[in-house]
Symmetry: C2
Subunit: 321 residues, 2 copies
């Protein structure tokens, strides 16, 4: 096969403790090739780095791309990190990672510009670029999965803050002395509304002897299962969902009162539960936020789903940031 | 006296439910004349507008300034408001105010450019310009008095948000189902750490029969008095101060996790209590915020005190905003 000499290409990659997602984009940008693999984070830093390089090589090789046709590589990674230096400091889900200079490692391997961004920021950029945040200057994108992360876009730019910590929405404390969070604090938004938090609260209720269709499945509880049982009318599940909405609504109201954005986008596994969560969340949001702040506010689900991150990771190659 | 023809002048004015503060500035900007008067808000909109105009006239007349030497008038007012249209919507402390086009009223009277800004934003701008926020690009200024307000400066610009609601930090909910706030919600930062909230919590404790040196003064309690008794060692007062620091520390930690600023400035009456509040607040802040977010963070008292607002109100005449 002859290499395609007409086009320029980009690789976008997002990884976390569980999976590595990557795609080869042309410069329109359209996805040409995709790769999806487990991270096997437990095998350590070197193993994950090797795997990341391999995936990028695969994407390039499959399309037979000459190295001078690759414009750059965007990487979306868990934080905390330093986007300017391209270093990942550490991550609860990446055992052994400590000040890993990922940007330089990849740059050295492929000899192209590499941009590192926090995963939740890349997701926000993706939605801003091509998703439900298109055409909007000020938006907040919240990813509710195992944890809760956020990306804040103000005046069309990711708000990184002084130390790349901007947008750590999941660790906003909304109930002093509340439920313990994985971060060590109490009462963080994440402790209540993350998939982990939802399951934890349900188990606590079951342990108190609550009757529920979930009782038989208590060893394999997931937030998805709880939402499904709620849809079927299980009382405890409905209570858990309603409580989740209360906490999430408070979190959103706080963000509206502090930042007064135009749009809030909710992504991640938990947000896929749909109207059963969205409707009561909006009600709580309206109760907690200034009236003028919600009059024109839109709260929307993610449009791009799990493509938002890889797309957002290459956004800076197309725009001045 | 001959008018001074060499100089250009500006008027900065800040008003609320209680007082009107105003100053005539030269273009260095140095304060040439000051006025300080009660608002007498209960007399209604027209009366307050008349009083505001009169104060500005006084300042100009005293210095015998020709109208073409007045460059503009900056006004810092309570919100909610529309800074672009120059309208004050309503304010709990300004009875009868409803969509008052203050900017145009003043413009018509003096025939110079008028800029309207929310009071807490003007205070933040003042501190950023000439106070403890000088030279810093990203700062949050929190004013803790009767209520709790905030001004957020990002990249050297006030963050107004979509509807001029940005920075309503006082109504961030930090304790779900907590103490009732004047806004109608429960558990807002303001409900706990404002002067009003501190007094309210103290009265609640006294009503529960707590012994305290404050018991005899329960009808004339102020937050100042409570801080003073705490300094003298009164146990209940110390508890109230410590609890205030816990709540304030959570509020600051949330702001650090969301926005990761370089500096937080604390102003307003309650912040004048000094180290007895600052020290435990910083401890709580460090507990609640991401380590990297507090490593380089400075938390400072206001430098300009009650001059910050009038100074900040004229800031836009000197800088592009």
């Amino acid at each position: 096969m002859r290499p395609n000499k007409q086009k320029k290409y980009l690789v976008g990659l997002e990884f976390g403790g569980t999976n590595i997602k990557a795609a080869l984009f042309d410069n329109t940008p359209k996805i040409i090739q995709q790769e999806f693999q487990p991270t096997h984070a437990q095998l350590g830093v070197e193993s994950v780095l090797k795997r990341i390089k391999k995936i990028i090589h695969n994407l390039i090789d499959k399309e037979n791309i000459l190295s001078n046709h690759l414009m750059g590589i965007g990487i979306a990674s868990p934080g905390p990190l330093d986007t300017k230096k391209g270093i990942i400091f550490n991550s609860p889900n990446l055992p052994g990672w400590k000040r890993v200079p990922l940007k330089n490692v990849i740059k050295r391997e492929f000899n192209v510009p590499v941009i590192l961004e926090k995963d939740t920021n890349a997701i926000a950029l993706g939605e801003y670029w091509m998703g439900n945040g298109k055409g909007v200057d000020h938006l907040i994108c919240i990813t509710i999965g195992t944890g809760v992360g956020g990306g804040i876009i103000l005046n069309g730019q990711i708000w990184h803050g002084r130390d790349d910590l901007g947008g750590e929405i999941g660790h906003m404390i909304i109930e002093k002395d509340g439920l313990e969070c994985n971060c060590g604090n109490k009462g963080c938004l994440e402790a209540f509304v993350s998939a982990t938090g939802i399951v934890k609260r349900t188990i606590q209720a079951l342990n108190k002897g609550r009757v529920s269709s979930l009782s038989k499945k208590r060893n394999k509880l997931t937030s998805e299962l709880i939402f499904n049982e709620a849809k079927k009318g299980d009382r405890l599940s409905l209570e858990i969902v309603h409580e989740t909405a209360e906490y999430l609504g408070i979190g959103l109201a706080n963000l509206v009162n502090i930042l007064n954005p135009e749009i809030i986008i909710l992504g991640g596994g938990v947000s896929h539960s749909g109207e059963i969560l969205f409707r009561p969340t909006l009600k709580e949001l309206k109760k907690g936020a200034f009236l003028r702040g919600v009059e024109h506010l839109k709260v929307l689900p993610s449009k791009l789903g799990n493509k938002a991150g890889i797309l957002g990771s290459i956004y800076p190659f197309f725009h001045k940031t």
